[in-house]
Amino acid sequence: MKKETHIHAAERFLSNKKNAEWHDETLWQTRTKRDRQAALIPEWEQLRELASKIKMHTITHLDRYLEQFATAAEKNGATVHWAKDAAEHNAIVLQILQQHEASKLVKSKSMLTEECNLNPFLFEKGIDVVESDLGERILQLMDIPPSHIVMPAIHIQREDVGKLFEEKLQTEKGNADPTYLTRAMRQCLREKFLASTVAMTGANFGIAETGDVVVCTNEANADMGTSSAKVHIVSMGIEKVIPSHDALSVFVRLLARSATGQPSTSYTSHYQKPQKGGELHIILVDNGRSDNLADKDHIQTLKCIRCGACMNTCPVYRRSGGYSYSYFIPGPIGINLGMLKDPKNYYTNLSACTLCFSCNSVCPVQVDLGNQIYKWRQGLNAIGKANRTKKVMSDGMRMMFQQSGVYHAAVKAAPLMNLMPRALIYCKANKWGIGREVPQFAKQSFTSWWKKEVQKR
């Protein structure tokens, strides 16, 4: 389905001034909280450097570490599955559910399962999937997608959550207090946790040396689900593996600080063995990741630990919201991941960047996000997706700038533009003029001043 371009979607987002302002300010506050946490750690920049090096080392030796992880996990009693793509991943999940005659699945947040479109697949097969992260649950009940990878419901107002809960959870009419609503969902989901037989989580990290899977949450939803249910399914992208607990210590110091400005998430859970009498299934998913390893221009996206800091700092994301991007992950990392997945489909997101490089500077693993966006733009012409107007303008500029004579004639003629009637200057084709006055060309250019005042002397 062809989605609206970022340009138009963003314009629409901004037309709701109050929401747009709130969205921008709230996400900026998250960036500020990150800054405050980073300022408390003198070795912060060293940590980022180390995290980047550990990730690069791991992804360039990925087969070795995946092998080590799988061996260790199986020795611990877990069952390791390998999924080449989304379809295989979903089929494996279904198979496990069917083996246990389960018609319900309680899950905690996982962007990978979004990527694999797991929920719609399971619904079609008659499985009731219950999202347990509050933000994801709200979106599930509203039947809309997430707009941020860490704060998925950031764009929803409390009144709308209140109305939703009135309808779905029979809460008090008109009560939109976040604490009241959260408690109502606690009660509702508590019943579902207690009744669940199969629970699913994502994985923030998989430790090669020891075979444990690490999940970081604030809500305890991952642990409520997996401690009640006997069967635990983990969906893990192959790039999530890291060598050791020593390596992990670097990432856990960076993750929550970068994502939400907390020194740590409330829970950093290590699942090493299945529960007694239970099962632990780890599905390692490729879905195009090993292809990205071969792409030297874009391999760095595999370092990403899905913290969302790049979104919080991106001035364009803050003012356009997650739904303005056509890929399910928005912001700087989303623009890049979308291009890796399907450039001909997601290239329209490339306009959503001023190349300010703020994202490069906050990324805890130093992914060169802005530089990669620049590189993707260079590659558009080759795949037939270059913007025709920009191409024509660039050709025109090149011709003018290459020939000094032509350029100087243009410079001389420029001030005449000032005399054009306003209606002509501010015609529809002049996009600059929609929100701004056009600059006045100086009566005497620098070149002509130089020739008169300096050269002639």
């Binding site: 070795e43 933000g135 409390r158 976040p178 946790f193 390596a247 020194p263 829970y267 063995k273």
Partner: protein, 171 residues
């Protein structure tokens, strides 16, 4: 694998730092005073605690969580008192390696008290991970403060699906 040789943060007073961070993340940390009775302290911190559960020797509790048959039976525990291994000063985390029959106790209790030895504090997560060990249960968790969420309009709500309050007692 790159060498992790960095001059990581150290605190002149680990206890003070741990207590400060615990409070800043919505939790609490208290040092057991010389001669103070731990059960008296716990009762003073949670005077309204109804059904309590603990398998820690010397701790008063209504039930022993190891006596239940299913994890669901622990629903309704208002105060879980559990043994932790060590604490981390930089972020108020406590490493809890499963030592109860049903790990749900750590999450299902309305409130949680975690006990650690006062001299079992490390400065940062690098030191922490050098001490992390698993037992036969194969589960461990760093817990920092109560469960929480800010998913509704970024308004912080303490108490999502796990404990609504956590106190670490250093003794």
């Amino acid at each position: 694998m790159p060498l992790i040789a960095l001059d990581a943060i150290h605190y002149s007073d680990k206890v003070e730092q741990f207590v400060e961070v615990s409070k800043s993340v919505g939790g609490n940390a208290v040092v057991l005073r010389e001669g103070e009775d731990i059960n008296v302290l716990i009762r003073s911190l949670y005077p309204d605690a109804g059904k309590s559960a603990s398998n820690v020797p010397g701790i008063d509790a209504v039930i022993n969580p190891d006596d239940v048959r299913t994890s669901q039976e622990l629903n309704g525990i208002s105060l879980g008192i559990v043994q932790g291994v060590f604490g981390v000063a930089e972020n108020g985390c406590v490493w809890v390696v499963q030592n109860v029959k049903e790990r749900s106790l750590y999450f299902i209790s309305e409130y949680l008290v975690i006990l650690i030895d006062k001299d079992q504090l490390v400065d940062n997560m690098h030191e922490a991970y050098k001490k992390v060990q698993f037992n036969d249960y194969g589960f461990g968790c760093f817990i920092s403060g109560p469960s929480k969420t800010a998913d509704i309009e970024q308004a912080l709500v303490v108490g999502a699906h796990g404990a609504k309050g956590v106190t670490v007692i250093l003794r």
